[in-house]
Symmetry: C2
């Protein structure tokens, strides 16, 4: 028997046969483990999860193998019993979506064939599918542009990085370096991208009610005194789901002759809905736009996108490597895929997007997006109806609801925030709910800590979510009593401090 006989491949004519046997193990194990977990995440907290996982997974690299089926059964059991599963309606902490079965199934095809998107001879058809997919997304974002384009990225962080990189290179001809100007509500990846790219730290514009204050932006741009600037606005903030006032921001940026990038990692899919797309008015005036279909697009990670208003804007990514895109090969008609990313080897992430788009159509996607937005509104009203809970005043951002137990308001600010943090941790440790946390402005202008429900489940009805409110109420009462007994709760560190702070320079 040839070497590798004990290690069958996923590809070729025989791969599907091997995969039938092994995916059966995976799916049976996922099913059993989901029942065993019996909730949105395992009970017991980090130490208990580590103990159980290690018992099934260690040593990861033994001298002798235990075989494919045993290894899959153990490790899939470990990861599934120990998952925070966003398919459970009580798993709502983050922009962490439950993937559609159709998208996860498409991933299996990608994994089996393993096309690499950096040259035609590694991805003949996958490259075409990517091109069709990015073209459709580019037209969605910039419908009026003559030659819009889009790249597939590993997520919003890479999209923002590439957006800043492209802007840096456009500015490179001038004497002054690019300045990035962004809201206090921006994702930390904007700051991190500037740091990685060797740019000055972004200038932060004050927000009002979680959105960039246009007057403050105007003052900031006036104060910079010229030079290349990229304004970075957000359409769907991580903490609150708020959309910056894009038309005003675009108008101000145009008045100063500076460019606009919009991080629409969360909010971008509102474009699928005719009813909701107007919330993104002004988006098409951005030179580049971050989208992320592993958020409100129900894709398994990774499914990032960077849309640009014109394909010529991508020129700084051009690269020639003889082994991947020699001039004579390109002249002879082999498509050049290398300038489509800052990565080299790349997964065919467009495949699952394309399958999902074809399966559901724009209308089907629109229904799922609208479902999440509607559910959030219903959930918000349910919070308002509970005397023991208080919703953050103001509008709900896309599908994110912030609220806190009233018992937290009855304490000194710091102690109140500690109760909120403790409620979240208690529900996590008990394996009962995965709620998020966010520091956000209260009605009195003071920043307080809130529980955050990011509602991305495309099928959960608001009735499925109501038990969360009971859990929070009960946990808050217990936490308040415990806090009376002992002042030993760790202080919730976020309040008052900026929502994001990089420790390194």
């Amino acid at each position: 028997m040839s070497a590798g006989g004990g290690a069958p491949l996923a590809g070729g004519v025989h791969g599907p046969g091997h995969l039938r046997a092994l995916t059966a193990v995976v799916l049976d194990t996922l099913e059993t483990a989901a029942r065993a977990r019996g909730g949105p995440l395992p009970a017991g907290g980090p130490d208990e999860v580590a103990r159980r996982t290690t018992a099934l997974a260690a040593p990861v690299l033994p001298e002798e193998g235990i075989g494919a089926e045993a290894a899959l059964a153990d490790l899939v059991r470990a990861v599934a019993e120990g998952a925070a599963d966003p398919a459970d309606p009580a798993c709502v902490a983050h922009l962490h979506c439950p993937p559609l079965a159709v998208a996860a199934a498409a991933e299996l095809a990608g994994a089996a064939l393993n096309p690499s998107m950096d040259s035609w001879d590694q991805a003949p058809a996958a490259g075409v599918i990517e091109e069709l997919t990015t073209a459709a997304l580019a037209r969605l974002v910039h419908p009026e542009a003559p030659a819009p384009d889009a790249l597939i990225t590993s997520g919003g962080t890479e999209s923002n990085l590439v957006a800043l990189l492209l802007a840096r290179e456009r500015a490179a001809a001038g004497e002054r370096p690019l300045r990035v100007v962004t809201g206090a509500n921006a994702h930390h990846s904007v700051h991190r991208a500037a740091w990685m790219l060797g740019l000055p730290a972004p200038t932060v514009v004050a927000c009002h009610d979680g959105r960039i204050d246009p007057a403050a932006l105007d003052r900031t741009l006036a104060g910079l005194g010229g030079g290349p600037v990229l304004v970075v606005a957000t359409a769907g903030t991580t903490d609150e789901g708020r959309i910056d006032p894009l038309p005003e921001i675009a108008r101000i940026a145009e008045r100063y002759g500076v460019e606009l990038h919009v991080d629409a990692a969360y909010g971008g899919p509102l474009l699928f809905s005719e009813r909701l797309a107007p919330r993104l008015a002004g988006l098409d005036r951005a030179v580049s736009v971050t989208l992320d279909l592993h958020k409100l697009g129900w894709q398994p990670v990774a499914a990032g996108v960077l849309a640009v208003a014109d394909t010529a804007l991508l020129a700084p990514l051009s690269l020639r490597a003889d082994y991947l895109n020699a001039d004579d090969d390109t002249e002879a008609g082999l498509p050049d895929l290398l300038g489509r990313s800052v990565r080299t080897t790349r997964r065919p992430d467009a495949l699952k997007m394309a399958v999902t788009f074809r399966a559901l159509g724009r209308r089907g996607l629109s229904e799922l997006v609208e479902h999440c937005v509607r559910t959030a509104e219903e959930f918000g009203r349910a919070v308002d109806a509970r005397p023991a809970l208080r919703r953050r005043p103001g509008a709900i951002g896309i599908s994110t609801v912030l609220f806190r137990p009233v018992v937290a308001d009855e304490r000194e600010p710091e102690a109140g925030d500690a109760v909120v943090a403790e409620v979240r941790r208690t529900l996590l440790m008990d394996g009962r709910a995965v709620l998020g946390r966010a520091v956000a402005e209260d009605g009195d202008g003071r920043r307080r800590l809130w529980l955050k429900a990011t509602l991305l489940h495309p099928a959960a009805a608001s009735a499925d979510l109501l038990p969360l409110l009971d859990l929070v109420t009960e946990a808050a009462e217990r936490a308040a009593v415990a806090a009376e007994d002992a002042d030993s709760l760790p202080a919730a560190g976020g309040t008052g401090a900026p929502a994001t702070e990089r420790l390194s320079p």
Copy 2:
């Protein structure tokens, strides 16, 4: 029926049931399509592949969906019929491996559960599996270090980028910026990383026989006159599979008091083999090492790793974002995963690695690595036995064999290279073989274009590979005749020029 009823989820208790039906469509389609393709890639070239793919895939975003099963059947057929499938022994152009079925099956579990590796409450058990996996890889690379560590990355390009970023930050306290010094044989991602990070362009050290010339490195470092330097060596070059003389390079770097990073994206898995690991002697003297298990590790993309000699070296990646790792949560025992990447949302790529490691054990992995190395040696001897073919003089690099048809030698240098390029393109267009290309030094010191066979198939016997040599011989004869008839072949642009040249600054 609730919204989303037409879009079932992959997770939860019911997800596996939905996935059973849909993965059956995927696997049946993969099998039928592999038979229909009937070779390593589709015949007809880019235009024909684009036509067939578009017929099955467009419009990617229709107004109304066609349903999950139909979309999967069409698009998986398109991508599989139009694949360059590395599970076919004649698909050997790149460091593009055929994934193991066990690894692809593990990907399905990751896609269904969708853990995101940036916080504990999105990946309770997956985070533990990643920690165990990176710890094992870190110990493999730096067995003597007291506290080695490793990160999971999207591939060698990101690993090299992070290595340079960490080095830049270590140098940031000083007055002079980091200088990167690397071989002419280095991967283009080293140059690209320096560009992205705002560092001076790397200083390029001459190579001899495809490997860094230690005397040239010594002269270069002497000429830099102090300041922080990162020497980047390669263990397994993309073009030739050559391993730089690591012990000499480490010694020289230590003499100058500068640091060493090794890009072992290709060669790293030699560490699994007791017999082959000595080829990487000196690797553990590097401050950081790039590995890439989607090359000689048979993982679906992405499976990148960056190993560092000490966990404290990762400090510059520390980041605090209240929603992901608030101080009070960390103090209360929630593990902080955010400083483990330059990405935020991240796939659980460690899962498939861990499953593969547990399934095969170190010994099983060693057998696969040794199989590839042995097959390349046999393939090289088979080339040597063919009068119509000539192997590049010198040692075979890991599992990469360079050769060219003798008819190409009978022509002027440029015309000879054009014959080589034409042979490769002809076999691609005919759908018969996916061979690579590389510009490399010939026995007379002149750089010529070669056909490249990167042998990563863990089960193909050398007998499976011999038909490639017949195909090349025949195609070369046809190309030579055609070249006699017309001087219209595009010139093979790579020869003489550096193997890599970035067009943008």
